[in-house]
């Protein structure tokens, strides 16, 4: 993967570059602010950008706004946002931008997850390939805030677990690995979830995720 990093803390930036380079990916640019990020994306057209939400000059949501404009102007570039805090408001904005652009290719993770190298690189690959990678905490908040409590209430505990992992953007294989069940069993759960929630079944992973997210968010 060809990657651009935007993170204002020099130590974290260096750490990210090291992890990605070590995993065999090419870091095209590592910048410290949103303007630098947009310039680097314009110049390199990377597969994915890793973006800190809070960057200078205002230290609020500069990264988010840059991420949204990258999704709009460069649909081929996936954007993985990460921050110290999960703010539901940011999730809504980012997912709104993602579905408005007609594709996924977004992710939102807590900074802690970056420390789990393999999971982080896997999430970034998913985003670069047009998939979705949401932090479990984002999904918990989405589930809690969803108005479709009746629909969600009909799911079994196992189905809710599968739904949460699906909303994080994981494939059947990854879900099976996490829950220590067979992929066949996961497929069966997914089919049940889609029929219980009244969603049209879909085989492509990322379209399936979008359907679930739209359901939770609407």
């Amino acid at each position: 993967m060809r990657i651009v990093i935007a993170e204002d803390s020099a130590v974290v930036r260096a750490g990210l570059a090291e992890i990605l380079a070590d995993s065999g990916h090419e870091v095209l640019a590592a910048v410290g602010n949103a303007a630098g990020l947009l310039a680097a994306v314009n110049e390199h057209h990377p597969d994915a950008a890793v973006v800190d939400v809070r960057m200078p000059p205002g230290y609020t949501d500069e990264g988010l706004r840059a991420a949204i404009s990258i999704r709009r102007d460069h649909p081929e570039t996936g954007v993985l946002m990460f921050s110290q805090y999960i703010e539901t408001r940011y999730t809504a904005d980012l997912l709104g931008a993602a579905s408005g652009g007609g594709a996924a290719g977004v992710g939102y993770l807590l900074k802690d997850r970056v420390a789990d190298v393999e999971e982080f690189v896997e999430a970034l690959s998913r985003v670069a390939a047009g998939g979705t990678a949401l932090d479990p905490e984002v999904v918990t908040q989405l589930l809690a805030a969803s108005r479709h409590t009746d629909g969600l209430g009909t799911l079994t505990a196992r189905e809710r677990e599968v739904l949460a992992l699906m909303a994080e953007g994981r494939s059947n294989g990854a879900i099976a690995g996490t829950l220590f069940v067979s992929e066949r069993a996961v497929e069966k759960h997914v089919a049940n979830i889609f029929s219980k929630l009244g969603l049209a079944p879909s085989d492509a992973d990322h379209r399936r995720v979008l359907a679930v997210l739209r359901y939770l968010g609407s």
Binding site: D8, S9, V11, V12, A14, G15, L16, E18, I19, D22, R54, G58, Y59, T60, D61, Q84, Y85, E87, T88, R89, A92, K111, D112, V114, A115, D116, V117, E118, Q141, A144, A145, R147, T149
Partner: protein, 314 residues
Amino acid sequence: MPMTEQPSAPQLTGGISHSASSESVARAQPLAMRILVRPSVYRHPRAWGSVCSVAGLWVFVLGIILCSNRFWWGAALIAVGALELWIAYRLLVAPLPERVRELERSRAHVVDDSAARLRRIERDLHDGAQAQMVAVAMKLGLATKKLSAMAGRTGQTDLDRVLELVVAAHRGAKEAIAELRDLARGIHPPVLDQGLSTALTSLAASSEVPVELMVDMPDRPSAAIETIAYFCAAELLANVAKHSGAQHARLEAVHVPGLLRVRVSDDGTGGARVEARGGLAGLAERVKTVDGRLQVSSPPGGPTVIVAELPSHA
């Protein structure tokens, strides 16, 4: 032998015990003597006022006693006492409204200042300790990955032990990141920098009980007030989730010129009370620091309505 030396020990301590005893001598002196000894202190109007009120009262009472015993020259003492009491009034009571205004100004300054300081601490944590911990955890994550690959290849027990240690350190680093995050968020939630309405939107969305949100804030109150309002709303919504058994809650924030009103209501079982050292009492205290007030209505069986009213500026 040591026993006989003991009585002389206090004398050896010199300066300290000497100044302490002169302190107690001064306290025992009559007021008049103290004024003579420390005239500069008593030049302050408040000290003069106190002296005049005490002396005036005594002279006044003495004058009345004399007059009632037909020593008519006591009337002069009554007049002097009354004059002293009047001076005391001018020095102590008359300046109070001005002092109240001064106190309000300095309190607003202190409240704003502490809000700004908390914001700075959160920013420092974010840029400093939190970033460092993330970098450390990332390095440990990378080390874990490399070591497990090596351990798989060579199968040395020493390497397994090192891997165990690194994995434990990695886990510890991640726990530290989570703890730091909670700490920083408790000090100053960064989302507040984008305004109270954005912060409340995020808060309502992350509540365990579904929250209907109504925000009407044409302009922003001061940062310190926003912080207090945010923590009120957060605590009240947390209470709804923890204690009320409610199915729905409603959060309203309305800002009119001069007043910010935050109202949290739910359809739960009610019975919320302001108890000493309880969460609501803490909130009430916090609201009071800026002259706000907290109204609680929570009859048994519900519904619970809690309103915090805050001035726009501290």
